[in-house]
């Protein structure tokens, strides 16, 4: 039976090149409301580029990139800004503002874009820090915290505006297996608690097994395999077997 849930993110025949290097060549897929789509593939196949298209940081050379039914590249600055307020993006290295402490990093979008009182901002930020299990981190500077904690702060910052869509760019990158698993469990917990739609770019099998409802495998800038995780990891597709066989997990 086909999935009746509304499509929130749609890529149709998307092409993107950087100079002479072709990164996406005819990429098409959909993400439905409440779903967690994992994007897997070898390095350099444009996984992060896909996320950056979805949030309007990059423009496609051709093709359609739609979020909530709106063509992202055609949005005016103000419309794009409004759309982004309903989206969260967790960067690979956290991308925390290095001269702001943890609390001020998480509070930044509220202070800059809303008229909330300082007391309300502090309440919301503390709530998000509690949610990602770093309740006492407010005063710490980004240079004083570990990679895992940076990821948690990045997630808290992405969540503070109550987004409907969260995009995770390699949430396990640079973390040991134990911390990685705690981040993966946090992602699942947030999906259950907040009912968000997510896209997770990752190449670690353990992460994808834990968080994904569906997995797409990118090869040469297009989708080679699109399956639920259980079938994905038991697929007899020769290229997928070759890739997973080399995965450290």
């Amino acid at each position: 039976m086909s999935d009746q849930r509304e499509v929130l993110i749609r890529f149709v025949d998307v092409h993107k090149s950087f100079g002479k290097q072709k990164v996406l060549s005819g990429l098409s897929f959909e993400v439905r409301r409440g779903e967690t789509l994992a994007v897997m593939g070898p390095s350099g196949t444009g996984k992060s580029v896909v996320l950056r298209h979805a949030i309007g940081l990059l423009q496609p050379d051709s093709g359609l990139v739609e979020v909530e039914g709106k063509a992202v590249p055609r949005l005016r600055r103000r419309e794009l800004s409004e759309l982004r307020k309903r989206m969260g993006f967790v960067f690979q290295e956290g991308a925390l503002i290095n001269w702001l402490n943890v609390g001020d990093n998480v509070a930044l979008p509220l202070r800059e874009n809303t008229d909330l009182s300082e007391a309300e901002i502090r309440r919301r930020v503390q709530e998000r820090l509690d949610l990602v299990r770093i309740p006492d981190a407010w005063e710490k500077m980004p240079s004083q915290i570990s990679g895992g904690m940076k990821k948690r702060v990045g997630i808290a910052r992405a969540l503070v505006t109550d987004p409907e869509i969260i995009l995770y760019d390699e949430p396990n990158a640079g973390l040991d297996p134990e911390i990685s698993q705690s981040i993966n469990e946090l992602i699942v917990e947030l999906q259950k608690k907040l009912s968000v739609t997510s896209m997770v770019v990752e190449h670690r099998v353990r992460c994808i097994r834990t968080v994904a409802d569906r997995v797409i495998f990118l090869e040469q800038g297009r989708v080679l395999v699109d399956l639920p995780p259980r079938e994905f990891f038991h697929s007899d597709h020769p290229r997928l077997q070759q890739f997973l066989g080399r995965d450290p997990d």
């Binding site: 800004s81 982004r84 993006f89 991308a95 925390l96 503002i97 290095n98 979008p109 800059e112 874009n113």
Partner: protein
């Protein structure tokens, strides 16, 4: 595309980006009252922490001007005029030029390095996806702080330069301290006005404010356009200092022409 054409295209793109940034700052000026804490922090970091450099260089510049000019004046027996010449030179030209060259090398480079590091570590992308206006957050307070700091530092540079010149006048040219100070003060007075200062003082302060705008816009632009890791930040910083100094020199000529020739 040939190399000279590529260089010209890049130059035009760079200037276009700087002009766009300048107008973006102007449009956001009403937001300034919300940024006063950041402005104060930047005044402290750029102005107060760089004060000793400006004072030291200003002192020696005054001494050099006094010595170079004084030796020639002594030959024609006019060394008594040294106070006037040092005071006018510092107020009109050397004070703002030297102060802002130091600011370009210290504050301008740090603007490019700080914002450039944010650019290559995805922090600017993070601001974009959070819908945080980076001109309001990063550029507006830095530019305002420099426009406040530059004239204040110029006044201090002028003052220590004139005092340094006095030291040389007394010790090397045998002009009495009283005569030197009297002639310097006389040169910097224009009685009968609400603010009894000559055009040279206002011109110097006006120049320093224009130079400050140039330094901030060029430094921030270089940082915002930085890419390619640490190497990219290094390139941005070098370009910011180089372009700021070139812009200061060119602007200096045209402002002087506009104020004294036109």
């Amino acid at each position: 595309m040939s190399a000279p054409l590529r260089m010209f295209t890049n130059l035009c793109r760079g200037i276009g980006f700087q002009l766009e940034l300048f107008f973006a700052v102007l449009v956001r000026l009403p937001n300034l009252p919300r940024r006063m804490r950041a402005v104060a922090e930047n005044v402290y970091q750029g102005g107060v922490q760089g004060l000793h450099v400006v004072l030291l260089v200003g002192l020696f510049i005054g001494m050099i001007v006094a010595l170079q000019t004084g030796i020639e004046l002594q030959r024609i027996g006019q060394q008594d005029q040294i106070g006037t010449i040092v005071a006018i030179s510092m107020a009109r030209e050397m004070g703002p030029f030297i102060t802002c060259t130091i600011l370009a090398a210290t504050v301008g480079s740090s603007m490019a390095a700080e914002i450039g590091t944010m650019s290559v570590s995805d922090e600017l992308s993070a601001l974009e996806v959070l819908s945080v206006d980076r001109v309001k957050l990063l550029v507006l307070p830095r530019l305002t702080a420099l426009v406040i700091s530059a004239p204040l530092l110029t006044i201090l540079c002028d003052t220590v330069g004139i005092l340094g010149g006095g030291f040389v006048a007394q010790s090397q040219l045998h002009v009495s301290w009283q005569l030197y100070i009297d002639s310097a003060i006389e040169a910097l007075r224009d009685p009968g006005k609400l603010f009894p200062l000559p055009k040279d003082v206002y011109a110097g302060l006006f120049k320093s404010m224009i130079f400050a705008v140039l330094i901030a816009i060029i430094g921030c632009s270089a940082g915002l356009r930085a890419y390619g890791g640490a190497l990219g930040v290094g390139k941005a910083t070098r370009a910011a200092v180089r372009d700021s100094i070139i812009a200061i020199i060119i602007a200096n000529y045209f402002i002087t022409w506009a104020l004294y020739q036109a």
